[in-house]
Amino acid sequence: MVQFDDLTEKMLRGFAGRTSRRSLFTLLGTVLTGAATLPLLPVARAAAAASDPPLASDPNSGEMPPQSTGNPQDPGDPTKCDYWRYCAIDGSLCSCYGGTMNSCPPGTEMSPITWIGTCRNPADSRSYIVSYNDCCGGVPWGRCACQNNLGDRPVVRPQNNNEVTWCFGTQSQSYTCSVAIILGVAIDQK
C-alpha cells in the first residue's frame, strides 16, 4: 500500500502541477476527476492482468539484434514487443534508438507526465505498476513499433490511453519513442 499511496500522490501532483497554470475551473475539474478515478486504477488493472492474455506483437518488432537486461528476474528482450513490461505500450521502443527499456536515447527529453499500465513479471509472478514515459524531441524513425493494449481504455480516461502523445512539460512535444519504468509492485500474486 505504501507504493500505491506514493503512486497516487505522484500522479495527483503531476496533474495538479500542470493544471495550476490554467483556470480555476480546469484545476478543480482535473483534480476531482483524478481523485475519482485514479485510486481505483491499479487494483482493477492488476486483476485484469492476472488472466495473462497473449500480447499482440507487431510484425515490425524483431528488427534489432537481441538484447537482454542481464537480470534473470527481469527476463525477455527489451527490443521486442513481447517483453513483459510492454503489456500496455503503444509506440516505438527506445531500446532500438540508443535508449533502454527505462531510459531515453541521448538528445531526447523524458516527459514527466505519462500513462500507466500494470504488467505481470513471468519470472517472479508479481504484477508491477509500469510508467510508460515518452521520450521527446529526438529523431523518430518508426523503428520497433509496438501496439499492446492490455488495460488501455478510450481517451475519455486519458491517463489509461496509449494513443495520446505524452510529451508534456518538455521543450519539444515531438514524439520519439517510449520506455517502460517500474514504479512499484501493484499486488503480490503469491
Partner: protein, 411 residues
C-alpha cells in the same frame, strides 16, 4: 591500404578459375558474343518497323502542366488518413490503385471536407527545426480542385491534442461555418474557429472531458471521465450560450464506450467494448441519451464476440449499422483487427447480416454512391466489398502501412 584490395581481386580471379576451365571459358565468351549481335540486329529491325508505322513524331508537350480535380469529387473517391502522418485522396472504385492527390500531414493531422465551400481543412502541428524549435498548430485551407493551400489559420497556445488521428479530435458545427478543435495539455479545452473569416474565436474549457461531437445547430458534446456527456451550445461569436450535462451513462470501469461513432437517421451510435450499442440524439440542443441495446446474444457474449478495431463502426446513414466484430475477445484485444462485420437494422435493433471478411480489418467506411462499397482497412490492404452480397470486389495496396487509418468517404 593497397594490400587488402589486391588480395581481394586475386581471390575473385581464383574463384573464377576454380569454377570454369580455361577452354570452357572461351566457348562461353563466344556464345555470349553471338547472342549479343543477334539481339542488337533484332532491335534495329524493330526500330525500323516502328518508324514506318508511325510517320509523325510525338508532339511537343506543354511545360508546365499540373493536374486539377473536378469541383465535385466522384463518390468512389475517399480520403485515407494514415494515422495523421499522411493524407491521400484515392479512387476506391478503380482497380488501378489510382491516387488522385496528397495533402501534407506531420503530426496527428486531421481532415475536414466541406460540402458548403470548395475547401478542405487540415489541422497539423510542426516544429520550426524539424523535431525541435517553436511549435506551430495550424489549419491549412486547401482549394478542392487545385489542392493548393489558399489560407491558413494559426491555432494559438500549442495545445491541440496530439493523439492518433481519429474521430472527435475536430468537427464542423454551425452548418460548417465553424470548426472545433479538441485541445489536451493535459487540461482539456476546445478552440472555436470561424472558417468563413478564417480566424480563431476563442477557447472553451471542458475540464475532465474529451473529444468533440457536433450537436444542435451550433454546439458540441464531449465525453467526460465521470461517465457523463457535457453538451455546450455556442452563440454566433463562438462563446458559450448554454451548458447541459447528462446523468452518468458511460460505465468506464466495466464497459466503456469506444469514442468512434456513426450516425443513422441523425442519431449517433457508439459501440461499447463488451458489445452494447449506445444511441445518442444530438440533433438538437436538448441532447437525449437513448436506451442502449445489445449487439450480441447471450450465446455470442459467452463466445466473447465483441466489437474491435479502430474506425470500427459505419452506416448507410438511413437504416443500417455496420460494426467490426471479433470472437474470443479478451482484455487488451479491443483494438485488434476484427474477423467479421455485423450489420444491424438500427430501427428494429436486430442483426440482418454477418459478413466474414477475407482478412481481418481494423477500420471500415461506406461509400455514398448508388452502388455503395464497404471499405475495410486490413493491414497493408484496403479491401472493397459489395455491401449487397458481401463479395470482395477489389483489394488495394497500402504499402508499408502498420498503424491506424481514418477513412473519409465523400458525398
Amino acid at each position: 591500404m593497397h594490400a587488402p584490395v589486391f588480395s581481394s581481386k586475386s581471390f575473385t580471379y581464383t574463384q573464377r578459375q576454380e569454377g570454369v576451365k580455361p577452354q570452357q571459358g572461351r566457348k562461353v565468351m563466344y556464345k555470349i558474343l553471338v547472342s549479343a549481335i543477334l539481339v542488337a540486329a533484332a532491335a534495329c529491325a524493330a526500330m525500323g518497323a516502328s518508324a514506318a508505322d508511325f510517320p509523325n513524331p510525338l508532339p511537343a508537350e506543354t511545360i508546365p502542366k499540373v493536374e486539377t480535380l473536378p469541383a465535385k469529387y466522384p463518390t468512389t473517391w475517399s480520403f485515407l488518413n494514415y494515422a495523421g502522418d499522411r493524407i491521400e485522396l484515392r479512387n476506391v472504385g478503380s482497380d488501378s490503385r489510382e491516387i488522385k492527390g496528397e495533402l501534407q500531414a506531420h503530426d496527428s493531422a486531421t481532415l475536414l471536407v466541406s460540402d458548403q465551400r470548395p475547401e478542405l481543412y487540415v489541422i497539423d502541428t510542426v516544429w520550426a527545426r524539424g523535431v525541435r524549435g517553436a511549435r506551430t498548430d495550424f489549419i491549412t485551407v486547401y482549394d478542392k480542385q487545385t489542392l493548393n493551400a489558399v489560407g491558413e489559420i494559426v491555432l494559438p497556445g500549442g495545445k491541440r491534442a496530439l493523439i492518433t488521428a481519429m474521430e472527435g479530435l475536430t468537427t464542423f458545427t454551425d452548418d460548417q461555418r465553424m470548426e472545433l478543435v479538441f485541445n489536451f495539455t493535459p487540461a482539456s479545452s476546445v478552440t472555436v474557429v470561424d472558417l468563413v473569416n478564417r480566424r480563431v474565436l476563442g477557447d472553451i474549457e471542458i475540464p475532465g472531458c474529451s473529444l468533440v461531437y457536433p450537436t444542435g445547430a451550433r454546439g458540441f458534446s464531449t465525453l467526460c471521465a465521470s461517465g457523463t456527456l457535457l453538451s455546450i451550445k455556442l452563440d454566433a461569436a463562438g462563446a458559450v450560450a448554454g451548458r447541459a450535462e447528462s446523468k452518468a451513462f458511460n460505465p468506464l470501469d466495466t464497459d466503456p464506450l469506444f469514442t468512434a461513432s456513426t450516425t443513422v437517421g441523425g442519431i449517433r451510435y457508439f459501440p461499447s467494448l463488451h458489445g452494447r450499442i449506445q444511441p445518442i440524439d444530438m440533433r438538437s440542443d436538448d441532447v437525449k441519451i437513448l436506451p442502449d441495446w445489445p449487439l450480441v446474444t447471450p450465446a455470442e457474449a459467452a463466445a466473447a464476440w465483441r466489437p474491435s478495431g479502430w474506425q470500427l463502426v459505419a452506416s448507410d446513414e438511413s437504416k443500417l449499422l455496420y460494426v467490426l466484430m471479433q470472437a474470443d475477445a479478451h482484455e487488451g484485444s479491443h483494438k485488434d483487427p476484427a474477423t467479421e462485420v455485423w450489420i444491424y437494422n438500427a430501427a428494429s435493433k436486430t442483426r440482418v447480416k454477418r459478413l466474414r471478411l477475407v482478412r481481418p480489418g481494423s477500420s471500415i467506411a461506406l461509400t455514398h454512391g448508388t452502388e455503395p462499397l464497404l471499405l475495410v482497412q486490413a493491414g497493408e490492404r484496403l479491401d472493397a466489398y459489395d455491401v449487397r452480397d458481401g463479395v470482395l470486389v477489389r483489394s488495394m495496396d497500402l504499402p508499408g502501412f502498420r498503424s491506424r487509418m481514418q477513412i473519409d468517404t465523400l458525398r
